[in-house]
């Protein structure tokens, strides 16, 4: 594109005009939105220009929709902002088609698949120790009132005969990869929410693969054929409704056995409110116990009740932002796009201890362990980061974070541990440390490495690279920091262990609360409503 500057300037001014009159812009011309991360501008093309959209693979990475503008012999490409706007093509309105795929009792289902004798029994995956929580439970267990995020001790009281399993993160992750393989056959527009849950935008696949409903059934069938696991799929015009629909398609627990669900639930365009309004208000995202209490004062129990409250009243009760937000949700207005590959902002690990630590020494060792694991994941992802954050939760749940930013991005265990140790020095552990976390943020691509004049640092980098090579070839436990050597070999922190609290039966029960909510350690949460 030559003379691009002037042309760009002209276009930009025209965009401003078009944006101001965008309401009238859609009839005779194609309406497109440019990929400006903040303001999706509406651009009206005039007679000399032709606009068309197509899917291309940009820069060999993720597929993107681009708009191609041909104007006076020039061709402009611009990636299209996946805006919530409907696409108007020749006057035909096309609705978005969003799928929410959610595995049924994922972790438990995987365990039952491995050991069929567990089928039909109350099975709980989660931390079994005094501080553990339920990560996932079978429908038989749910019939006893057990649900995910419940303290394991309470689950055990509710159903003493339940089978407790510690959970095998590696296996679930493997299954998750398999699931994503299936999903990727249908669309590249996948937003993974957790290991077993994802949004898909199949709007672009309809011509090839059929309607959203047809795709939903194929996905469900293919997952079952290939993985032996059941899933539920919601089909709707927004993420909010798709998620609620998949929930409505789930099996139900009852004391006499599991009642199969619909498998696929569709909320047809136009029928959104009929589906949404009878649901309890707590079904909406962002309505937790606190908000519910406030809404109670208005006599709100269903989403429909909420929709009837004037937005100003809602804003008064809940604050401007969340009031406005809830009002929109209550009317089924959810314009968020399915965003594949949400950029990772930080990488971290944290661990709750069966017993509080009161001294620096064991904590220093834990920091080495966490830093080593964080560094491994950073290197795997080809990232490095400049801000190191140490998180400390005390026995009374008071939680503090301390951070330090270094000039050159880190991705090796020893330098990470060094910074984290310095941060730990500033923390007094004497009240008892319950949880420790190390994370790295301000991430950059590790496609270049600032070389150093410092021999020791250079050696540390060489060592870190050698360690990663050895681990890649001989496994994660083949080599590690000497300080992590225990009686049973290297005590490495692995992603996913300790996800749901320590499993080892601890010493005397602590005075504090006996469980806590699942943490998003390793970027994964419990499968909450599978």
């Amino acid at each position: 594109m030559t003379g691009g500057c002037r042309r760009g300037g002209k276009l930009a001014s025209r965009v401003a005009v078009a944006a101001a009159t965008s309401a009238t812009a859609c009839c005779s011309a194609a309406v497109v939105a440019l990929d400006d991360p903040w303001t999706p501008l509406t651009l009206r093309t005039n007679c000399n220009a032709a606009a068309s959209t197509s899917s291309v693979v940009a820069g060999g990475s993720r597929p993107r929709r681009v708009v191609m503008l041909r104007h006076m012999g020039q061709t402009l490409f611009a990636p299209v902002h996946r805006s919530h706007r409907l696409w108007h093509t020749h006057g035909v309105e096309q609705h978005r088609s969003i799928l929410h795929v959610d595995m049924d009792a994922f972790y438990v289902a995987v365990e039952v698949r491995t050991d069929p004798s567990l089928a039909g029994r109350p099975v709980i995956v989660g931390g079994s120790g005094a501080r553990g929580v339920v990560a996932s439970c079978s429908y038989e267990a749910r019939a006893h009132g057990i649900h995910s995020a419940m303290p394991s001790t309470r689950a055990r009281r509710l159903c003493p005969e339940a089978v407790f399993l510690p959970g095998r993160y590696d296996l679930y992750q493997q299954c998750s990869h398999q699931l994503h393989e299936v999903l990727h056959r249908f669309t590249p527009l996948i937003e993974a929410i957790s290991l077993d849950e994802a949004f898909l935008d199949v709007g672009g696949a309809r011509r090839l693969l059929g309607t959203g409903v047809e795709i939903a059934w194929s996905i469900r069938r293919q997952i079952h054929d290939e993985m032996g696991l059941w899933s539920s799929v919601g089909v709707a015009t927004s993420k909010l409704l798709a998620k609620l629909a998949s929930k409505a398609a789930k099996p139900h627990a009852s004391l006499t056995g599991t009642i199969p669900g619909l498998g696929v639930k569709v909320v047809e365009p136009g029928a959104e409110l009929a589906f949404l309004h009878p649901l309890p208000v707590g079904a909406l995202w962002g309505v937790g116990p606190a908000t519910r209490r406030r809404l109670d004062r208005f006599g709100v129990t269903t989403v429909g009740d909420l929709a009837q409250i004037p937005p100003e009243t809602l804003e008064g009760a809940l604050g401007q932002a969340s009031g406005r937000h809830l009002h929109a949700l209550a009317w089924g207005r959810d314009t968020r796009a399915v965003e594949p590959e949400r950029g990772v902002k930080s990488v971290g690990h944290e661990e709750t201890y069966p017993r509080d630590h009161h001294d620096h020494e064991p904590l220093r060792r834990e920091v080495v362990r966490l830093a080593d694991a964080v560094a491994s994941r950073l290197r795997e992802a080809g990232r490095a980061g400049t801000t190191v954050v140490l998180k400390v939760r005390f026995g009374d749940f008071r939680t503090i974070t301390r951070s330090r930013t270094v000039p050159v991005p880190l991705d090796a265990g020893p330098p990470l541990a060094k910074v984290a140790h310095a941060l730990l020095e500033g923390v007094d552990p004497s009240p008892g440390v319950r949880l420790l976390g190390v994370s790295v943020s301000n991430l950059v691509q590790r496609d270049s490495v600032q070389l150093t004049l410092d021999d020791a640092e250079r050696e540390a980098d060489d060592v870190a690279r050698a360690v990663e090579d050895i681990r890649r070839r001989f496994g994660a436990a083949a080599v590690g920091p000497a300080s992590l050597l225990g009686p049973t070999g290297l005590e490495r922190k692995r992603r996913g262990d300790q996800q749901w609290g320590p499993t080892s039966p601890p010493s005397p029960p602590s005075g504090g609360p006996d469980g806590e909510l699942p943490r998003r350690s390793g970027g994964v949460s419990a499968d909450t409503d599978g």
Binding site: K418, A422, V444, D447, S448, T452, L453, D454, E457
Partner: protein
């Protein structure tokens, strides 16, 4: 304690001294204050973070001698906000009253006894300097501008946060490195230290010194065993020296370079400024393709795009591409004297040297970035 003076006189003294005061929430609360002392018609205002102390001396109309420590930020902000004119401060042990025109305030004082003693120069038997040395401000200012930027800001590596001052062939040499680059500046003929002696001065103190230099014509320098003092007209800056061994920087400087590039300083600065705009973050490297008559500078950021610009140059050596952190490269080029700048390299993985042509007194060593 009681004195009065013009608003501007007080403000300048407070603003300078409080730069050494710590923020709130430090381990020693009194350090967030400035110490005001009146003796006759002299007012001394001091701020300190234990490592660095800045003391300003100024003329006021004193009515009663005494000492008082006031919260640095508050008292400075108040003074800044006052209308021009006379200000008077009167204090007892617990409280200070500040008034100007129709404005009145009373401020709770910090315990003056807790304030660290403004260190007197400790000149032991093995004292580093015999006396006091006067330095030309222009030279010192330029040397600081060239060197201080290369010091590390990472407190985890205290040695590297200092600037090494060392006696070198009858002159003074300043050296700083953050382990990614190294800056060396010689001030020939400035005998500040005994031959072979060296001290490590915190770069933070030197940065403060740098700020103060433009307003004076001469600086007096004296070294003690554990501290250094810089005396400027009315301002005394005392800093604790960093203990420890500075890395052996001499061995880092290669003895010869097979490749040498000479390029116009302004042109390469302009080109760098432009191509850098496409760097995603501070660590996105800039690549220099070195060729006989031109060099090409380029930045590639996968999601954003790429930019390149050619600059005329004289280059002798093997054609190659070498990448640098753009910030470090800009720092180095900016620090050089003269209209042209030279870049000497061995290969894309070993340190390169940047100098201003025609000046042997400054050298900037820079490690490349390895790009995959």
């Amino acid at each position: 304690m009681k004195f009065s003076c013009e608003r501007d006189v007080l403000l300048e003294a407070l603003a300078v001294a409080s730069r050494a005061a710590t923020g709130r929430g430090g381990s020693l609360p009194v350090l967030s204050g400035v110490r005001l002392e009146v003796g006759g018609d002299r007012l001394y205002v001091a701020g300190s973070d234990l490592d660095l102390t800045i003391r300003v001396e100024t003329q006021v109309k004193g009515s009663q001698d005494g000492v008082c420590v006031l919260p640095a930020r508050t008292v400075t902000e108040i003074t800044r906000a006052l209308e021009a004119g006379a200000v008077s401060i009167e204090s007892d042990e617990d409280e200070a009253h500040l008034s100007s025109g129709r404005y009145r305030s009373s401020l709770r004082a910090l315990p003056a006894d807790d304030f660290p003693r403004v260190p007197a120069l400790t000149r032991g038997d093995g004292g580093v300097t015999e006396g006091v040395v006067n330095l030309d401000v222009g030279d010192v200012g330029q040397a600081l501008r060239q060197v201080v930027r290369a010091a590390s800001s990472d407190d985890a590596r205290p040695i590297l946060t200092g600037v090494l001052m060392t006696a070198e062939e009858g002159g003074l040499r300043l050296v700083a490195t953050d382990s990614y680059r190294l800056a060396i500046r010689d001030l020939p003929g400035r005998n500040v230290l005994g031959e072979g002696q060296q001290v490590l001065v915190p770069s933070k103190a030197l940065a403060e010194l740098q700020r103060l230099l433009p307003s004076v014509s001469e600086v007096e320098l004296a070294f003690g065993d554990h501290d250094a003092t810089f005396d400027l007209a009315g301002v005394r800056l005392t800093t604790r020296l960093i203990e420890g061994d500075f890395p052996n920087y001499r061995q880092l400087i290669p003895s010869s370079y097979p490749n040498r590039l000479v390029v116009d300083k302004e042109e390469i600065q302009g080109a760098l400024r432009r191509v850098r705009l496409l760097a995603r973050d501070a660590t996105t490297p800039v690549r220099l393709a070195l060729r006989p008559d031109t060099i090409e500078l380029s930045v590639v950021t996968s999601d954003l795009g790429q930019a390149s610009e050619e600059v005329d140059s004289k280059y002798e050596g093997t054609e190659m591409t070498v990448a640098f952190n753009p910030g470090y490269l800009v720092d180095g080029i900016e620090a050089t004297d003269g209209d042209e700048v030279s870049l000497e390299t061995i290969d894309a993985l070993r340190p390169a040297i940047i100098r201003g042509t025609g000046s042997e007194e400054f050298l900037y060593l820079l490690m490349p970035v390895r790009v995959s």
